[in-house]
Symmetry: D2
Subunit: 251 residues, 4 copies
């Protein structure tokens, strides 16, 4: 078993090291991760500029690109041997509800969708995140379970772990993504030269966080495991849109 690891907090992040140390005993691991913090990079790809990959002292490979660049490179030619699956994380902070649209960690897992086994994104829901050993244990548990009882290879699991000691963990729940309210307002400020600058505000509060959601599981002390799919088509709307579309319109 050969697992590719990546993240969006950069190759020096504690969460990545914790994940590498955890999985090393169960599989061959290769780490290809951004050379610096690329949180909220989503699935962005670097097309205009070349990328450089450098082996670091601890045997990781750092890339001057996004999480998606890292996994993309790794599975399209950088590595001599294609990995079997991707584990991304352990993210410093949760990736819950709408967060997954922006998350570089989830994007790294997503980019591993063409491999032979499920992809896993794993995040520790603390600010700052502390109990990486809990998340590392969860990573091992899920890996062992994946080996013992494989899931379909097109599965992507978005895993969030409450930031509590392992012995306080209540268990695992399969969840759906909740939803956040619209983000908080942009934060306006001025630079020292008196010019206006804007900071993106914090994510919105939980809007749909009821039973069954990832928010709910985390708040109750459970590991939240959400199966993701990447087809954004809204199938139930296709007929409606077809009926709505102009018919004689091109002249």
């Amino acid at each position: 078993m050969h697992i590719l690891l990546s993240n969006d907090d950069g190759y020096l992040a504690e969460g990545l090291t914790a994940l590498a140390d955890a999985l090393r005993s169960y599989a061959t691991i290769t780490v290809v991760a951004p050379d610096r913090n690329r949180s909220a990079a989503s699935n962005s790809l670097t097309l205009e500029m070349p990328l450089r990959a450098t082996e670091t002292e601890n045997g990781f490979i750092k890339v001057d690109g996004t999480p998606t660049d890292c996994v993309h490179l790794a599975i399209t030619g950088l590595l001599a041997k294609e990995p079997d699956m991707v584990f991304a994380g352990i993210n410093h902070g949760g990736n819950l509800g709408d967060d997954v649209l922006y998350s570089g960690t989830v994007a790294a897992a997503t980019e591993g969708r063409f491999l032979g086994l499920p992809a896993v994104a794993i995040s520790l829901v603390g600010y700052p995140a502390v109990h990486f050993e809990t998340a590392a244990h969860v990573a091992i548990t899920l890996l062992q379970q994946l080996i013992k009882q494989p899931l379909p290879k097109d599965t992507i699991l978005n895993v969030n772990v409450p930031d509590i000691p392992l012995n306080e963990l209540k268990g695992y729940q399969a969840t759906r993504l909740g939803q956040r309210h619209k983000s908080e307002p942009v934060i306006t400020s001025t630079d020292p030269r008196g010019r206006l600058i804007y900071w993106v505000g914090p994510p919105g509060a939980e809007q749909d966080a009821g039973e069954g959601t990832d928010f709910y599981a985390i708040n109750a002390g459970y590991v939240s495991v959400t199966p993701l799919q990447l087809d954004l088509t809204w199938y139930d709307r296709i007929q409606q849109v077809q009926a709505w579309l102009p018919t004689v319109n091109t002249q």
Copy 2:
């Protein structure tokens, strides 16, 4: 009607100007777009650095950030009056199948999901794209139809237009997203100092491009209109994952 326009090719792109010129007669428009090419930026958000917004000579507002930053800023405080909807594009090149995961144009539309009307991403499927007047006509047609007969406000339409003269257009089709094969291999090269560099390779060829897909519609000369949803949860898999999850696992 107040429409926010953005794109990922940058505020100087011909496609954005074409879109602005087209919609100006039908609505109040405000353009907030990246200060340079940000193709493949996906939903990436700039959290670590502040953003600057500058009004340009032609009345557009340029932002030194991603498409998502642009729309995010615009709807969370930059604009005095919140727009009713977002039109993103006209993208230079198609956003078909898996492309939507990486597209900055689609991400700009996505970020408008909290507004009162549907969001529309519009792309011209040519390399290089030529017939912007065709796509502009399509934009006007869809806007008029949205005004006459509104769709649910949480609708996001991913519109792709064949790069042909308007009078050759066959009509409109509501489609699902097709799928591409895995991307082409990374392209390895060296810089003038002899060091290895990597370029992300081209997207994969069409894999699922059968009837009903966006690929199929475009290839047949139709405008493809795919309704998108943003909930990545794979609902059909939740039970399976729940059954699969470890039960006694935290000790």
Copy 3:
């Protein structure tokens, strides 16, 4: 006569347009300038990444690099015909005293040192700069004088123009660079997530601004013209250092 124009405020800056419009009647001009603001770029060169050069609507060439990159590219192969000299500016704000070490405008002129005629950096000392027509007139005057009565080709002129109407200008003074005090303290702040950030503080106040300096000329309403040389060797110190150097030292 073929003049290469560049600047560090970016190809859209009012000062660059003013300079281009002024010199166009007296010479063939080619503008190669950064695609965005690169103030304080000094002589930095982009070695790790490739550069792209794009012709803009108004016939300028923009480059996604520093001022030095722009002039470097222009004179080492981008242009079919090598220019005779470089004019850089009109900079928005002065380049006085120690400023020249950091200035991208002066660096652009510096990079033109291998051409057949003197290089000129021209800056308008106002915050914000207003009277570009005054500086444009100065540029024309100096160009005409350079044509009529050439200076040695290794001359680099650092020209600063008071931001006043042309008819208030007192004349021209050949000056030496003054000196500033140490910069003002760094400005400490926090981002919206509570983390420390630092902004480089303003330049120091004038320390050596006595008669003969560029500061003095500007304050008195004169155009300041400082001949620059690029050899940083402190010749008067070589003997002292030689005497000071360890003699038996390598064992």
Copy 4:
């Protein structure tokens, strides 16, 4: 004695570690260095964006800015106690002749010019550089000499060390900067999408490399020590320029 260390190859560079390890026994050292390779950054300062400073595992402070930003921050407020002098390096590769105009290492030393003792930039002239222990020995020797017999505080020493074993070193020479020919032509290439890209070419060959220059010393196996000054005024030309300047010119 409190020495500030910086470089332009980034905080992880072998040369910086070698310098820190060498000087640690002779002084209190604080390292503030760029978070990545910033070669050829010259004296560029980051004015448009804030900077972040982070302590690393080995006790260094990394900054997401240029070498000049690093030293600027350090001496204008980041450090509780102002250092006495700056040592920059050990640069991977030489900084000879015209190189000093572009060098981030020399710029870091330059930025320390307001401190109480001389600033030293030290570079190892090898491609790739190998004998860091030789350069480290030179750094110690010069530091000890500076302590024993101080030079004027406004001295900046540009030190280049031949990349040879210590016992092959011939000695030290006080030198002037040599000069290079114009740079090699820009290298034209295409990206995988067929668009033109340009790489800055290599520096020009030695033009003025005669006796007394830094090039000459290095080629002969000596450590080259060039005293630098930062006043770019070409004093010998002021009279000539004054005579040349237009006199009746403002009407």
